[in-house]
Symmetry: C2
Subunit: 512 residues, 2 copies
């Protein structure tokens, strides 16, 4: 009995001490000023920060393209760079004028000089070089990149280095060398289950740029609705969209592509087939398979997947894909392949129509005639199974955060997606060994408050506060921005729980 | 064997038919125009709708108070009524001018005449009469209520009767007699875990009014932060708020109370004690109990619940509660009582300090000295156990939808709360037998799209669309409102699943 008592007392004391340390550490963490300032998300490949401070005067600071470099001399580069310098010029400073403190007498930085060393392409691609380097020192601030796309990534990073302190904008002496781990870092949006207004999609591209995401995978149509306005087959949206105004015109699509391009973001559309095509059947029932529940009543049927047994189906798809390939600039597009219900095809085989001209592969997809194979090949190579062997892992080009929209539209999309997708962004950009979530927590807190400050309502990660609370809904005259330093996330008392478990086990053992 | 085969075939056919009817019905429901139009949420006690249509001309239609009634003659009524007529005048019509169709030649309604038959009080209370009746007929439109509070409920209902059709605002001949099932229909907000900007709280009071919710339960302070600026004890927020700007001044509180009052909403503050008071200890550690993990080290302690063993604690609380009672107009306030950790008090008892002057009841709360009993009594009577007997059920005065804010702030509050809380609103307002969720679904769809249209981003309930999609974030010049008819919610194929289950069971049985 005595050893049991000793054990119980010891464990009780340990539990009490754990409770105490949990209470004090949790509360102190919530209070202390050891917040993340001027950290970068996603974490760069290599970053060295000194304690030397440089101050920036919002009235004087300039973002400048090095005129001797491709940033100015190459028109493809210049266009993207000029647009970015203008955008980031607005993002660098956020402290309202009435709260600013002067920086006369402080050591100031006057400008950031941007150099692009290689040529540029009009559109970003899977092969684009996104590397850049930044140096902030007493010699000034420089940003060097191979391409305009790297310049964009570097400008985003530079904008994150700046933090606010006592009314001043500050950046520490820093040296960064950065490039992404994976070239394909995407977000998938679903505009079929709920229509996302065009301005919302554009707004969301900004959120992606703030996290260095570079692919918008646009799952544009599905069973419920066909909002894409095809000029080849106007009845697709004419009869398949939710309403005549819940559509994306070719002009809308071009706007998305252009807005994305200027942010180094590729737009890859997905026209899912042969399943998930019910909305196509509103305007074009002839391309879908008639599924007969029973052969006794040939007049009763519902429409299922695309009909692989008719040559006209392939003609239709080819024409549509040609239009899509013309409109969407990217080299790739996604043909879906999700959840094609074979039951319907088998019933038809049993009852009416023989399958011709299509082969069904073992992953519930289908092989289109040879003319489409090049488009599919990349998908089939790496897309459909988790990579297990080293050889397979070498084939991985990146990943995506996908937000299916059955329960999501513009009312709740952004807080649901962010800052969750920021974690995906870092996994895909930063080196594999950047994997310590405790260390990442204050950086994510700063990134989420930064996004809120920039007009992206990323949701909170635990009791906390932001320098700028989300207040954009306010139209009332008594609006006051709340300006304070950001706080760290409160951590959970895991040890607390462990000790209690040990106590329970000890009691049980002693009593047994 | 033969009966098994027959069973299998029969079940297969049934499954196929179910699949077919699921497919067609789901898709047709998503397409058809049998949407809810001009329905009311929450469902009134008694409502009769005819098929006779009356058209409203936004340029001419008037909301008018009957000058012979208290609506005009009683100053207390007049103030609330005038404000409401102005607000609802803005809410009745939403079709943009460029999309409107003229109503000349149609049978029109010119005005709604509002009559308040009894006197009014300045503030709403638990005993307020919220009943009203509406009549829309060829004789015109009338709204009668006993009090200004009933007038508010009636105006909200009338605004919901109006629907859009082919560019016209329409209301059908209707007769309504309505009053709430429960008098206390609340929303609890938590402004301690995350600070909610003042304009956001005001904005949210509108959302409540659209759903006839009438109590704002304001859980204003807690462990993490003390944002309430007390004039009696300025260090409470001075040292306990997240920052000096994450506070609610007495003026802020008065604004909330006034904004709520004009919407017939009571504001009941909660200053949770004796637990959850850690932020109080920042400015006033002397009112909290020192919890000693071990008696061997009297200098090591953390702060726990309020210290019941000191008279000064009660003096402090009394002074604070007196200030609160002066500032907050309602007869009631909530003292919390949540999760007071006895462990700390017991350790102290064992080691240092005897408990004096406080009795601990079995629900982890505490009894304050007699002067506070009247405030607590209502809480203890009905608040702490689920009502089981008929006698207990008679004591229930209502309910609340509570949104604890560890993971919630203004970025995600509204879509998380709405339209979920609309369901709570109906359970508390409408008769007990209004409980058919299938029938309610199109009405909820209309209510959620209505809220979105009015600037409340209530989230979707399944693949669907709204006349006005949430588009307020857009600052871009290419903004276009999307105006179409609303669609019904897509239902799940429950029968489909049931048949498949039956099939599996049949197979198993046959093989066994």
């Amino acid at each position: 009995m005595k050893p049991c008592l000793v054990l119980l007392v010891a464990l009780s004391l340990q539990a009490a001490v754990a409770e105490w340390s949990y209470q004090t550490s949790w509360y102190e963490k919530a209070r202390q000023d050891k917040v993340a300032r001027g950290t970068v998300w996603p974490q760069p490949r290599s970053i060295d920060t000194t304690s030397v401070r440089y101050y920036l005067d919002p009235r004087n600071f300039r973002l400048e393209a090095d005129s001797s470099s491709a940033a100015v001399s190459d028109p493809e580069c210049k266009e993207v760079v000029d647009h970015a310098l203008s955008r980031y010029g607005e993002l660098l400073f956020w402290i309202p004028e009435e709260d600013r403190a002067g920086v006369d007498g402080d050591e100031t930085l006057d400008k950031l000089v941007l150099t692009v060393t290689s040529g540029c392409t009009r559109y970003p691609s899977l092969e684009s070089d996104e590397s850049y380097s930044i140096l902030v020192s007493s010699d000034g601030a420089t940003l060097r990149a191979q391409t305009a796309w790297g310049a964009l990534r570097g400008l985003e990073t530079f904008s994150q280095l700046i933090y606010g302190e006592n009314g001043k904008h500050v950046v520490n002496g820093t040296s960064i060398s950065d490039s992404p781990r994976f070239p394909h870092r995407g977000i998938m949006i679903d505009t079929a289950r709920h229509y996302l207004p065009l301005p919302f999609i554009l707004h969301h591209l900004d959120a992606m740029a703030y996290n260095k995401m570079n692919v918008l995978h646009w799952h544009i149509v599905d069973d419920q609705a066909f909002p894409f306005q095809s000029t080849t087959f106007p009845d697709l949206s004419g009869k398949g969209a939710y309403t005549r105004k819940h559509v994306y015109t070719p002009d809308d699509v071009s706007q998305v592509i252009e807005f994305a391009r200027l942010r180094g973001i590729r737009v890859i559309p997905e026209f899912d087939s042969p399943g998930h095509m019910m909305s196509w059947g509103q305007g074009h029932p002839e391309i879908l398979t008639r599924c007969y529940p029973t052969s006794f009543q040939p007049d009763i049927y519902y429409l299922g997947p695309a009909n692989p047994a008719r040559e006209t189906t392939y003609t239709f798809m080819r024409k549509l894909f040609e239009e899509i390939r013309e409109l969407f600039a990217d080299e790739y597009f996604h043909v879906g392949g999700d959840e094609a219900r074979f039951q319907c095809w088998k019933i038809k085989e049993a009852f009416h129509i023989r399958l011709e001209g299509a082969k069904l592969n073992r992953n519930d997809g289908w092989e289109l005639p040879k003319s489409y194979l090049p488009l599919l090949r990349k998908e089939a190579d790496g897309g459909e199974e988790d990579p297990r062997t080293e050889a397979q892992k070498q084939l991985v080009i990146g990943g995506e955060a996908c937000l299916w929209a059955e329960w999501v539209d513009s009312t709740n999309f952004i807080p649901r997606m962010w800052p969750r997708a920021s974690a995906v962004a870092e996994r895909l950009w930063s080196p594999q060994d950047v994997a310590d979530s405790e260390a990442a927590s204050p950086r994510m807190e700063e990134q989420r408050c930064r996004m809120v400050r920039r007009g992206i309502p990323a949701q909170p990660q635990g009791p906390s506060y932001c320098e700028y609370e989300w207040n954009i809904l306010s139209q009332l005259p008594n609006y006051r921005p709340v300006i304070t330093s950001s706080g760290p996330r409160v951590t959970e008392g895991l040890f607390h729980i462990m000790f209690l478990n040990a106590l329970v086990l000890a009691v049980v053992k002693c009593l047994a």
